[in-house]
Symmetry: D2
Subunit: 448 residues, 4 copies
């Protein structure tokens, strides 16, 4: 890290949104610890923070029964934010809260959906061993009428429509500035290919997650359309969650990933991801016409320096060498005028990467490729820190990425989302450091 800090006075103003604690709205759809939250909101406002990012958990709002939406808790929360002069970035969180790295609160998806899953587990992503992942719905049922008369797309649309109507006032007065549309596990547009619950450890390559009957049927159809019905199953030599690329016949250099069959399968697997994004964002734009929408893409930077980019392939990004997997995604987002929320800019994982040199990770290389894919497609990029950060060195890292000095065209992030509002942050020294960071993100001068 450069010893002398860079002076950000006069650099572009980048708005900062602080992620609320996961349990902000409790299971009775009430705001947890209202007064404490109110005082924190005031402090955030005083420090110059532009707004807060709120997950609207599917598991809370549509908990009771299909199409019965309980928005009261969120309505109280939004009113509080507005009173404190804070803007809102709202996430349509169609995924489970908890069970992933760093989550302490557990909000599964609605019970009536889990009940459907009991008789028809294929509504969930499924891996080779047939293990189901209840974190979110499989993309295979986007258009299948298995959710008590509705398709998954219809469920997502009704939820977003109900939100748009309930919160009309916050749209009209501009309190809500952006809607991030949850598109998969952790709200990110990726297959759940590296679930810790299945024993995955960094830097395992992860596994393909297209073994539910609906995705397999889709694969069958694609294989027959290509005239090779024997291609209608995922590769059987792609290793396990914690394999290394070179251990597998599929991902090793010169492996099957680049064969006739490999190219067919990966094109199908990655297209399912892009088509899912395309469909849901079409409905999102219909529901939220006039409001900026965004999609979250995670930065899978381990095994980036190999030919096959195994971990990215398993997650659905067809990005082996000599092919730009992120350009196709950026093109789809541009079609919907959606912006790109990218999560792995927090380059502090370097220490993490240092711990596993053999992971051939390259977070900076990945970030550089994704940023260029977005800029070339003419869409804006926002981002958030993947792991907690309270120290000046971490903040400097974020600032440098938000407004890179070297960028000849002065390009910069359109917004930054800080993980996460909690007591540590409120601790006096930390909050002073954070407020300093906020000023520098806004391009204001800091006397100290």
């Amino acid at each position: 890290e450069s010893v002398r800090e860079r002076d950000f006075t006069g650099t572009p103003y980048i708005p900062i949104y602080v992620m609320l604690p996961l349990g902000t709205i409790d299971h009775n759809n009430k705001v947890a610890g209202y007064d404490d939250l109110k005082s924190k909101f005031k402090k955030l406002k005083d420090s110059g923070v532009d707004g807060v990012m709120v997950d609207c958990w599917w598991g809370l709002v549509e908990a009771k029964a299909p199409q019965h939406y309980e928005w009261s808790g969120y309505h109280t929360l939004f009113t509080l934010a507005r009173e404190c002069g804070l803007k809102l970035q709202v996430v349509m969180s169609f995924h489970q809260c908890g069970g992933n790295v760093g989550d302490d609160v557990f909000i599964p998806i609605p019970q009536w959906v889990l009940d459907i899953g009991k008789e028809n587990p294929d509504i969930f992503f499924t891996d080779k061993q047939g293990v189901r992942n209840p974190e979110c719905l499989s993309w295979g049922i986007d258009k299948v009428r298995v959710l008590r008369g509705r398709t998954a797309l219809e469920v997502y649309y009704d939820y977003m429509r109900s939100f748009r109507q309930e919160m009309n006032e916050f749209f009209l007065d501009g309190t809500i500035t952006e809607i991030e549309v949850g598109l998969g596990a952790c709200g990110e547009l990726r297959y759940p290919s590296y679930p810790e619950t299945r024993g995955w450890k960094y830097p395992g390559i992860g596994e393909f997650q297209c073994y539910d009957k609906y995705l397999l049927a889709d694969l069958q159809e694609a294989a027959e359309a290509r005239g090779h019905s024997h291609w209608a199953q995922p590769p059987d030599n792609a290793g396990e969650y914690n394999s290394r690329p070179q251990d597998t016949g599929f991902f090793r250099d010169g492996g099957d990933y680049d064969s006739y069959y490999g190219r067919f399968f990966l094109k199908w697997y990655s297209n399912v991801l892009i088509e899912h994004g395309d469909r849901v964002l079409t409905f999102a734009n219909l529901a939220f016409e006039g409001v900026k929408i965004a999609a979250k893409v995670s930065g899978i930077h381990w095994w980036y320096k190999t030919a096959s980019h195994a971990a990215e392939l398993a997650a659905g990004f067809y990005n082996p060498s000599n092919r730009d997997g992120y350009a196709a995604i950026a093109k789809m987002l541009a079609k919907h005028d959606a912006s790109f929320n990218f999560t792995c800019v927090e380059l502090r994982t370097l220490h993490q990467a240092k711990g596993y040199p053999q992971a051939l990770a390259d977070p900076e290389g990945l970030v550089w490729q994704v940023l260029n894919a977005a800029w070339d497609a003419g869409i804006s990029v926002a981002s958030e820190n993947a792991l907690g950060c309270f120290d000046r060195q971490g903040y400097n890292k974020i600032l440098e990425n938000a407004k890179p000095q070297r960028d000849p065209d002065g390009r910069h992030l359109i917004a930054f989302t800080y993980l996460r509002l909690n007591d540590d942050l409120m601790q006096e020294h930390n909050f002073k450091e954070f407020s300093r960071f906020v000023k520098r993100l806004h391009g204001e001068s800091i006397e100290n």
Copy 2:
């Protein structure tokens, strides 16, 4: 009429759907006269009729309260049709039943909508005198959140979505073959420019219907965008409902309809119609993916032989001489793969036209232009008889139009909808004549 009848044996099979009586479903959402209807259905099936066309009246289904849909009556009716082996063409009827030529039943749009209209009458089409037309919603509120938290588009979508879910079984087993999407007064994609309730008599030119505050605001915006805010009101020299084109400064030969202002206004007025169709059909395709959708366009054939085509302009079809107004509509329908239901092929109006030679009507010329517009855009055309018909001469007229002998490419209607199932039709002689017509429409031989 040709004395010797044309033999239609071996000509293409054109399916025939019979329109049900308007009061088939009563105000308690029950099937009226179930047993009588059952016997009629059986007779229709025996005569070879392919199916029936049913209006799903908005005023019946969503009568009680917003988003409370009462489908039980229609479910019983559909089940009956299926049992009798009859297919279903269903109309999403977002308009009032009755109050027009030939309607004996009166089903206004839902009361809760009419109540909104009491405080905010601008949700209805409005004419120059400020008189409101409660037959259907104005296209001005497509995107305005004035219907108890919902926009008109959202109301239309929710209704179609609820139908798709409720009647899933009839979609899966193919009983439902087509959905006709109601797009305006009488379900037709036109402005309600010639309402009998306002004293209109054939062949009056009708009046522009864009005086509600929402459409006027849209016109204002368009005028400012063109840099001429003084153009922000409809023409003031376009006469009254029963005027003749030459009586008016706007529609007479060389009139203002062809001036700088006239062209600006008519382009705006006709575009509002096309954009409404575009938006609603986008939602229809999302709701009914995989099922054929159709839009109804009415044949306004009076004053066709004048330069301005006044009656067509007032109804929103920008079709003066040297401009093809129907090509633009066909192009929009093609974009949604929707077919064109055209209603004035019943050329028997000739007698009607004969009664008003000065109306310079030309039903055949109009039909010929519309058919070519549809064929050139690659979309199929269906049609229905505008006025009742029981006699062989009328049936011959319909047959000749359905499968024109002179068509070198053998083009023909994809379906014909017969107006209407009633006791007259069931009268022995009439029904025998009708059955004979059905066979000839199916290209079957008739011994008689």
Copy 3:
């Protein structure tokens, strides 16, 4: 005519180019009457005229032998113009000079071409009686290698390329401001359907000119492609040169022009015209990259007020009622960024039209349709007076059309070309009147 003259001071500056006398370059490729021309040029310059329009006659330049281009005469002429400070609009005149209304000089197309025509007369447009029209080449041989090893397109391209190279200096110093590409008889993009040489008199409908074997072969192919080989000949009930529409089974109201066959034939006939323009302008843009190109379209305003627009159909403009024939041409020109030179704005023909009320002519209606077609396609329009004009009333007419007062958007012609530099114009009174006209065209004030 308005008694009080409109004051054009401060109106937009419209450049004026004066057409040179037809015989300016004589048969030995010398400038005829150099000194007299020089003095006229000086006077033109003094009067403020921007430049002159010069026909580069194919019959003069490539007279001796294929690909032997004699540019010396034109080079001298261009040098003279430059010295006198005059700009140049140059016409690639691939047509015969003389033999038409008002031409006193006679320059046929190159003799070696006429010789080819002796053995293979089908290289010329041919009418029903098989009479050949040597004014220009038929569009049927655009792609046929019948001109001593070259196709017509190759002949046109080589000529334009040779001009571009020879006159490079006049391109580099901006003396040449526009190239008008000759596309048919009289340089206009039309069939030669009303040749006085064949006895045509105003307001005869003219005849179809597609009877050369090459165009007939093309028609045959189109008919077979549509599956109706019996449609492979032009209509046999379209009357003679001097017929009236209602005299013919094809053009009368409700005639065959609107039948299945009629629509097929007219679509083919008008498409040949558009494709010819498309091809030649493609080559023109390749030869003259960076210089504005233009195409000349003649205003056939007689029989405009009938349903079939017979005279326009015979000339290749498919512009019956309810169809905009000029929009298709404007679209093609826009594709090549070419401007629209329109020749019939000289509304003084009204007196002419007055003489034949039954001709149902409407020059103003036609001009209005063509202007809107060009504006809608986003291309600029220039024009010229069809008949000589020296009097203030005629000039007022031209000025009113060049910069119509009523145009709310202030749209106006990009240039005006005055027919023609001759001694009458130089006559003292006429020249004073002309100079006054030039000032008003330039929006300058006139004291008088």
Copy 4:
């Protein structure tokens, strides 16, 4: 190599064309050794060879003076081929013959062009040291009028047009089956980045060749358009002809090739190549409408296994990891319906690669990427052996590449061109082996 030979009986028929000796047409435009050639042609025909590939050297045909084309020699040669029943693939060879690997004949480009080059050497590709490469014209003068009144594009077009006219008979009777359009050094669409004349040795990375004033001016313009005029020169840390990537600051892993500036420069450098191909093929299609055209792309397989793909970048293929440089070229070719002649399928270079393991070459990987780029763009691929081949093992290698057994969709080359007709090939044993290869390429059975 597989010991047992694959039996190609019944596999797809792939036509084979044999390249004629470089000196077939001598400097007096006469066929060298006519009788010997005639007997060889007969033998080729007997062996089943489909045709021969002929270079039409610019330096021979347009030797005397601009636009004076001497085709007599080639006309005699074509007539001989036709008599012997052989088809013709003709190459428009706008490059120097000789001075490259394996060329024994020396035919420079026309003297009048070299003379122009004496005063204006910037008409040639130029490297960092300012050394000019007279092999072909720089792409910088495509549109600059520096060739005695003509631009380079006009010179190419006139040459192709003259050929089309001269050889009309061979087009009409189908003797000529394809025209390969020379697009750069050795006729290949690449920068001359590895010239042996400048001391280049395999596997040197080569140097950028954009230092002529015209290309530098173009780079200047692009840099200013991006707002960074200081980017207006090629990289100064890209090493020498025989450098290795890791020796240079530009090409080493993490080098400047992937920086803001690097991406800008490489996008510009590779776009110049694509635009040149686009322009010349546009003219080629105009000249040779109806005949298949092709473009030759060379397989630069050394340093393929590095991140930057240095040798490919220097040759103009922007193909670093995570970017598909060949897809952009395939897309451009598809636009012109041109096929892809790829020259490095002769995988025997493996022995060559074996000699330089550190060259990180991957001919098979490159071929696989290029084939997929072509197939994805829907264009066909032909190829030729880069180095001479007479033995069965070499032939087996070519056969395996022409009709890969593993290709599930049975895709195969559309044609193969054999390097080269010479006495060695005619030597009895060699010719017997060659004839055996021809049969197997045609999918015929071989008894022995």
